[in-house]
Amino acid sequence: MNPFDVTKAVDYSDQELFYNWVDFPKHSFQNFIRPTLEMPMLIVGSKGSGKTHIMKHFSYSMQKIRSNNTFDNILKEGYIGVYLRCSGLNGYRFLGRNETEETWNSVFAYYLDLWLSQLFLDVIDNIFVINKGLQKLEGIVCEKVLNLFSTSKEKIIDIRGLIDFLKLQQKNIDHAINNISLSSKNLSQSVEILSNPGDLIFEIPNIITSTVPELTNIKILFLLDEYENFSSGQQKYFNTLIRERRNPVCFKIGARRYGLKTTETLSADEHIKAGSEYELFDLDNIFRENYVEYREFLRNISIKRIANSQIRISTDISKYFNQSNLDSDFEIIKGKRLHIDKFITKLKKYKVKNVNEIVKNVGCENVLIERLNIYIIYRSIKKGENLIEISSLLKECSQQYISGHNVKMYDVILDKFKQDLIDALYRENGLKLTSYCGFDNLVKISNGIPRHFLMIMKHIFRWNTFYENDFASNTVSTEIQLLAIKDTVLWFMEDANKTDENTNYRYSIESICNFLRELRFSDLPPECSISTFEIRNVDFNPGLKRIITFLEQYSYIIKEDYGRRDKNSNVRNDMYQINGLLACWWELSISRRGIVKLSSDKLENIFYYNRAEELKIMMAKELLKYNVPFRKENTVLELFD
């Protein structure tokens, strides 16, 4: 059995969710979420960040499990969590069919009130069942709740009856909506709204906590998951409830990064404000900013899942993953020496004199130093230096280095470009880049999105089974890790297939990654560890802004929080790093060091799929600057006669 088959909380039952729960080390999710906090909280995170798992953890069904179904233990938590999955409400039915937006909005508001109230009363009904002493209060509760409805004078004596009454009101709306397209009867003719917007959501909890003495100080926490499934109009109504929140009700709203479609409310279209009317909790940022704890979190999840599958492993999980083995790989490279062939071809193509001697001088038994020497020769070509002299110097340096001495010139370059040179060596010799392998790197690649890591693990176990490799007794090879990364990338790219208004997001992603890769593997890359780009004034360019927002919201690019100040204008520029999974696929760095500065014009050429021709020309021009013979277009380099 694959311990990582389940990568989504939805595929777990409540018991399984409880069983597989792993808290965030050191801080604990409880401290971030603060379920009894009165200020509403918007929890945003990428697909797979774990929002559902966290929100369900605070729901009544989980409270019940962890308190062994004991009423007193639930009360100790200080709140009762009512979990709503917004997609379950089928918000898409509240539009079109020749009805006005106004009609739909008022019907939706009533419908949502009925829906949330049913969920809440379901929980209360359950509490009354596990604490039979409370049942004597049901009649009073029902009477007070029914008073919230304008016409109903029903005789309802218990909570179950009250839920049935609400269900009936909801059913009437469902029928009315359905009948629009079967009988041409419009909505306002058939739907009767019996309560004021928000009254049911705020007043029913108030009635319960004021009538049931044991619940007096208990908060009623509504947890709305998948807020992105509500339309702007629907969110506008709920934003109004956020603004007008009344005790004992609290709200936690979970949404994808792009999930909050509007901050407008129905109060004269005013906006709710982060900080004063709701707190914004960015799950991705928490994971990204607390790398040590995040690593520990993923380690704990992995160990728990593997242990739950009856596989015995040690707690030092990183030892089960093979990492890049430079010694053996360098031996293979030594046998091939294709980087030297490429070097010779280049020098000959540009008619450099004394090629044989230069090549002989840069040669070294340590292939990394040999590649470093090539890099230095490229740099000398750019500077117009005497290549024979430089190569002779490099010969000496190599000998010193091999005999264990420090070579300052080498140290300076290796400090910045070591990984780039290693990756270039692999690439030039036709080997797959293995620098992404190993537990720590897989954690890094996931960029604070646990599901990305879990997906990689899922595919690792699959390939392990395919190759009949036992996880507990053998390490996972770099080949299997790379195959697993590839499978995960294919899944990750699926969301990029969206197209709108002359935009092809998949093309934009491929294009920026290709561009950065070409720069990274040029002869003299402009920066080390390329995978981050910087752009200024993107706010003034709506087309670019739309693409960047999409890529950022889906975590294809990760926005660096503080950006960077432009040296000349002092304007703070936006900085984005390519997602780790994409970085692996496009052989970019998974570390953030060098930053490629891009103008709006360049980025437009890269992102707009109708500018493929312009991009080709731009890339050719750009690469001329970083590849031998390092010249601007139409200029003749005197060095090569």
Binding site: N2, D5, V6, T7, K8, V10, D11, D14, T52, R85, S87, G88, N90, Y92, R93, G96, R97, W115, Q118, L119, D122, Q170, K171, D174, H175, I177, N178, I180, S181, L182, S183, S184, E226, N229, M455, W491, E494, N497, K498, T499
Partner: protein
Amino acid sequence: MDNIEADEKHIFILPEYNFGCAELAGLENKYNLFKFLTFDESEIFLPYFKDYIIPNIDKKIAFDITGFLRHHIVYFIRLCKQIGINKVDFLYSEPIAYKNKENTKFSKDFQYVREIMGCGGSHSVDVSNDYLIIGSGYDYNMVLNIAKEKKKTKKVQILGFPSLQADMFQQNVLKAYQAEEEIYPKIELDSKDVILAPANDPFVTASLLSKFVKKANEVSPITNLYLCPLSTKSQTLGMALYYIFECIDRSVSIIFPFCSGYEKETSEGISRFWLYTVEF
């Protein structure tokens, strides 16, 4: 079309196919063409039923589902049930092959998911055991779109087996694997989450669907059920029949990923014609 005897022959020109005048020129004088600009199935069929079907309710109706879009087929059947039509013959012509095998493109520009008009149930607030049953065809982007809309439901696929042609089942499965992560944790053809139903038999499809739901309810009651027809038109018919006979007034809806356009020519040749007679 020419070989069928009928008092009136009506052809619907749907905006999703984006036909040009030249393409329609040969049909203009031969048949009664109904050209639509609306994408809304109820705006197409409600007036049509009022003007043509209800006044002729005692006559025989044959409905060729081959070129209609899936949501039109479902809505047509739902309306037949609503107004009390007794019997309709459905015609279907089976292709020899799809143009680019499993990579054939069918739909263009996904817009949104909604329920097919008249097929919305009243759903339960308890979503703990919601099911989405997808009739899965080659159009896997659409399967993904529907799976993403109902992210947190248990998903079941109906695959066409036996398929229309021998190689189509394998092609279908190849596409099914592409959506695996969004649909299941793991795809297994012999799993309980796959229904194998003949690609050209709506009645067996409806019957297998009914059996599956009954069985699933016995294990643990389904809280809400969503159906999505994305496979062959015959299976779409089967899903619609199951809905109108067993699901109306229950917490069941037929939902669909709507697109702004569809490819006109996706298949090659005709291997067989089918006549399905439905008595409501």
